[in-house]
Symmetry: C2
Subunit: 400 residues, 2 copies
Amino acid sequence: MARGNLLVGQSGGCTAAINASLAGVVEAAWESRDVAAVYGMRHGIEGVLRGELVDLGAEPSEIWSRIRRTPSAALGSARYKLEEEDLQRVLDTLIRLDVRYFIYIGGNDSADTAHRVSEAAKHRGYELHAIAVPKTIDNDLPLTDHCPGYGSIARFVSQVTQEVGLDTEAMCRVDPVKIVEVMGRDAGWVAASSSLGRRRPSDAPHLIYMPERPFSRETFLQDIQRCHQVHGYAVAVVTETVRDSSGESIARADPVFSRDSFGHRYLTGAASYLADLVARELGLRARFDKPGTIQRMSMAMASDVDLQEAYEVGAHAVRAAVAGEGDKMVSIERVADEPYSSQPGLVPLTAVANHQRLLPDEFINDTGNHVTPEFSRYALPLIGGTAVSYPRLQGVPVPL
Amino acid sequence: MARGNLLVGQSGGCTAAINASLAGVVEAAWESRDVAAVYGMRHGIEGVLRGELVDLGAEPSEIWSRIRRTPSAALGSARYKLEEEDLQRVLDTLIRLDVRYFIYIGGNDSADTAHRVSEAAKHRGYELHAIAVPKTIDNDLPLTDHCPGYGSIARFVSQVTQEVGLDTEAMCRVDPVKIVEVMGRDAGWVAASSSLGRRRPSDAPHLIYMPERPFSRETFLQDIQRCHQVHGYAVAVVTETVRDSSGESIARADPVFSRDSFGHRYLTGAASYLADLVARELGLRARFDKPGTIQRMSMAMASDVDLQEAYEVGAHAVRAAVAGEGDKMVSIERVADEPYSSQPGLVPLTAVANHQRLLPDEFINDTGNHVTPEFSRYALPLIGGTAVSYPRLQGVPVPL
């Protein structure tokens, strides 16, 4: 086909790797003779609707090697659900700017946006090659082995869980229980990764609660009490969205803690709630950590495998688009486990958009409060092949 | 003096550097002809009272190069206030084990413990050389330029504040306000360090609230609104212990949020409270991050300057003790700013114990919501001389 322009955007929650994908898109576009100008959307598809587009060819070329290792979304991100009337305005802009390659980096909702733009172009008879680039720390996109962004958050969570575990063990006579709250919309992939640095049964995390299993307060309290008795301390990692068997988020469902003194409901995080619950019911001092956005942004603990793959899926999207592909998402296909290798593939957007991949049963233990060795085999290569762990003093007693 | 045994312990909140100090103590003790055996207390002075001491000479010597870069307290830590009757039992144990060198790594309370043990030995006519090794992320010990542990938490907080800032900026149309809660007992040293990676006025943190200044809800809300108007987003860093002008912690003092539906008081963290307040009063979506113990444990973001100094103050404590010193704390004296260099010194424990060093006025800006350039000159060398910052795309608009 004839030369055309390329438009790229970023959408959804930011990650440590989403700019690596952007750099992959931009540098592959410059290398392609089929791409004329490279434009970026400010704040995703909203940038198209508001006319906030930037000329990425006007950026100094040396900046991309630095952007590649910069967390967050350099173009700005958004969470915007396209209305039907928006679609025609988007198309008008693409046609006016002679955009033939539409690359959208994001998760589930972004795949849906890319698909709808692709469909709208088809209806208008306008040749547009729309390719989605996967990105989500939730790791919940189907038809791809994993999602860029996940390896980095998994590396962060696996390392800090070991560190928080050492801290709780050392302070076990002061604050013996620690709850760590991690991200995850409906899937427990991030919480599961907290296990990757564990070497001994006494290592943290002793317990992992994932949204794939209904959360029971009673079982949780028994779990904590047992771990405290066995190890002298207990570290539990919990996905922020765990729900009880009625499907209600655990903090909101508690009659004591879910309303303020005027009877208004308020939002308490899962970990803050559970730390209160442990203190109230078991009489054990409990603290919580909620790294929040820090966990998905940390460049010091990013996975090199993740950053490299994120770059490659971005570049592959451009190569696929100029080769004539459209209405597809780039996937990551695992080629081998040891040594780990992967290659990019393509899957239909309709099979991705609005579908979710939860943790499969074989990755969750029978009691629903930890992971299996199969999970480690899956996840360890994604964080770089090894997880940080630390030595312990043996502590040979002195005879008194 | 004659050869004697050495006993070392760790106390108070753990840090990324406290094991570097322990390694410094142990390796210097092995090098000294005046030290026979090296014993460690499990969980600080409690280990002496409970007879839980370990023989550190029985540890494989190669482990110390790894312990040196392991966060938390390898011997276990504690917060235990010695009673008078405890002191005699401690002395009995020291005498029975022929301990002549007593090295205690910790903060304010630990300096007090070391001093009291030293005094008790003097009253019994028992020659004991008690030296405290400073350790506190609070950085609030007097008579030392800074405290081991601070440089590492400052490096963590400065980096994640940049990362969280980029995230909030990218997501400014979804969640434009972010509150980050950091540690600090009565001093704002940690919160202040969040500024170290800031390059432009639009960079995070826009606001820093430290316990040295009374917190006003009204001023805070005006500050957030102004930053949001100017930058399109606002990032505030707040010390967990900020208090209002009545001296009450801000979350507990709010009549709406401080009681549950049965009228019981509950503890809400400062950041979680402030995020609620922003949403309630300004109608802006706000989120919070509370890295908790993660901030003081992160080895990936530890400061090499800090780890090196922590090792050296540990080693210096042993050299001072065997040279006949006692009832002292090792201090860090700044020799030069550029290039940065420091040397260990000694200060009397009586001048340290139970005294606190708050942020001086010249490090806090006139409006009490940020730091001054003088603070950066002080703190930057401690995190290694530079703070992580990230590039931004310039964003040259595309004419439509």
